[in-house]
Amino acid sequence: MPVETKEEASYRQEGGVVHLSGRLDAEGSARLWRTIFQRSHKKRDAVKSIDASGLTYCDGAGIALLFALSRQTKASIDHLAPEFQKLLDQFSSDSFDRPVDPPRKISAIEKLGMGGAEFGRDLYDQVVFLGRMSVVSVRTFFRPSLVRWGDVWRIFEKAGVNAVGIVGMIGFLMGLIMAFQSAIPLKQFGVDIFVINLVALAMFRELGAIMTAILLAGRSGSAFAAEIGTMKVNEELNALKTMGIDDARFLVAPRMIAGIIATPLLSIYANLMGLLGGFIVMMSFGFPFAALYRQVTANVEISDILSGLIKSVVFGVLVAGIGCLRGLQTRSGATAVGDSTTRAVVSGIVLIVITDAIFAVIFYVLNF
């Protein structure tokens, strides 16, 4: 019994001949495809030819149906209108029958090795980058005019000044939360006045610097990677290179200088905001401002402030440097810039934490 579509594509089999007729477009082919192949499969040997004389229209899907049917049954296609025959003649069974090399399977050990090699290459790139930046630093130290100071201030404004709001808010809330969380246990021992010492020391020595650096890694390190990565995709880095302009000096140095200036300043600001949060909590518990102020000034030493500042300068170098490096490493393709941005943030945060741990050991050994 003929199977019909609403577009009137129809199929019937009489003896060894399959008759196709009507409009064999995507819709008609979709309706007939499964039925035809189930039947022709069952009666595979029986199909000798395909009579296409009744076809009034045939698009890509229809040609695909004819092609697949003739390949499967090895039957000839007869009486196909010349305009459809031209379409069909563009495809040869030989090229479709040729085996395609399957993608090579990579074993777990190979993957491990490739990961190790990739890590090694990345480490090498970082060392080379560090070397290049050292050369640029020395050159620009002796000739400050080599630095594009206009770019430095523009980047400082974007990465530093525009981050004041978020850094201040997070710093304030950290101080506030720390004071609340520590006030309850310390109150049990009647030493809750020391809560402000805890807030001040934690912010100045550790949290102000690390929190600011992590915020900058997410906010500015990613922006540097995206900006430089886009320039690479747009061949702007090639243009710089062939103009004889060093991209490390032209693009990286202004960002690193801006990072080195912005991170300590933002870090100090975060410390003060954290302290403000602590003060507000403690004053709400009934401690007078003067007592809290005396407590802080008597117990926070200059070395506490300096240790945080030294770390924040190093964090500034790391955040800006890794952001720029990931931007310069951007490959081609639509996802490349996104990948670089992600890598900039992840690498930035990992490096900050590792460096902070190293600082902790050094400061402990030096009793700083």
């Binding site: 320039m231 747009n234 061949e235 702007e236 090639n238 243009a239 062939t242 103009m243 004889g244 302009i245």
Partner: protein, 251 residues
């Protein structure tokens, strides 16, 4: 007597293990317009990038004014790079700088000219390409054709002897493309600039090219060198004659 400004000598071009061209040798004469042509994937842009020192060839050499761009380093490389100008397929203008600032950049980097002089020179270079009214525009504020012209102006900032253009007509309408051809001819005639152009645009090739270097993917090298008309009418290869007539090879 030969007055070659560029000499490509037995160059092997490619990326890492993938050799795309080998044994490529040809010369470009001073004030000549040479087009590098060939089918897709034959290595036209790769060859260009080796000629401008962007990639280091595994073998062979490229001499510009008799000096090797492959082996030069430091100030010598700097001097070679300042004698050439390059425009990329995308224009590669710096998006955060205005057209004038883009053209000023090489002047700022390599000259001690006062700021007002650099402004004037930038405007003059932009006027050469018909963009004097757009000096303060950002690249994103002008059309693709204007960006290509501004890129040529930037490439000319330091008065190079050679301009390398990578697909200058890509993505441009036929009228803008024809205007760009006229600009190339005008700069060649008035300033004597040598051009090395990678393009697929046959009308452009017939308009501007003195000679065409035809690359062949199969042999990974140069199939033939000649004027566009010679290649179209007298080439020893049928596919080149068809290519130059834009005819499809019969199946």
């Amino acid at each position: 007597m030969s007055d070659a400004i560029i000499e490509v000598k037995d160059l092997t071009a490619g990326y890492e293990d993938n050799v795309i061209l080998q044994g490529v040798s040809f010369e470009v004469q001073r004030s000549e317009i040479v087009v590098i042509l060939g089918g897709s994937g034959c290595g036209k842009s790769t060859l260009l990038k080796h000629m401008i020192g962007l990639y280091h060839p595994p073998k062979g050499d490229v001499l510009i004014n008799g000096k090797s761009i492959v082996h030069a380093e430091g100030e010598e490389l700097q001097a070679i790079l300042q004698s050439i100008g390059i425009t990329y397929q995308s224009g590669a203008l710096f998006g955060s700088l205005t057209l004038s600032e883009n053209v000023r950049l090489p002047l700022e980097e390599f000259t001690d000219l006062p700021s007002d002089a650099m402004d004037l020179i930038a405007k003059m270079k932009l006027s050469l390409v018909g963009l004097e009214a757009f000096t303060g525009s950002l690249p994103s504020e002008v059309s693709g054709g204007m960006q290509k012209r501004a890129a040529i102006a930037r490439a000319m900032a330091l008065d190079p002897q050679v301009l390398f253009l990578d697909e200058p007509s890509a993505g441009l309408d036929p009228i803008t493309s024809a205007e760009l051809d006229q600009l190339i001819l005008r700069l060649n005639e008035s300033l004597g600039i040598t051009f090395v152009i990678v393009t697929h645009e046959l009308p452009s090739i017939y308009t501007v090219a003195d000679r065409v270097v035809m690359l062949d993917k199969e042999i990974k090298g140069i199939a033939e060198i000649g004027s566009p008309e010679e290649l179209r009418d007298k080439s020893q290869h049928e596919w080149i004659r068809e290519f130059m007539k834009r005819e499809v090879h019969p199946a």
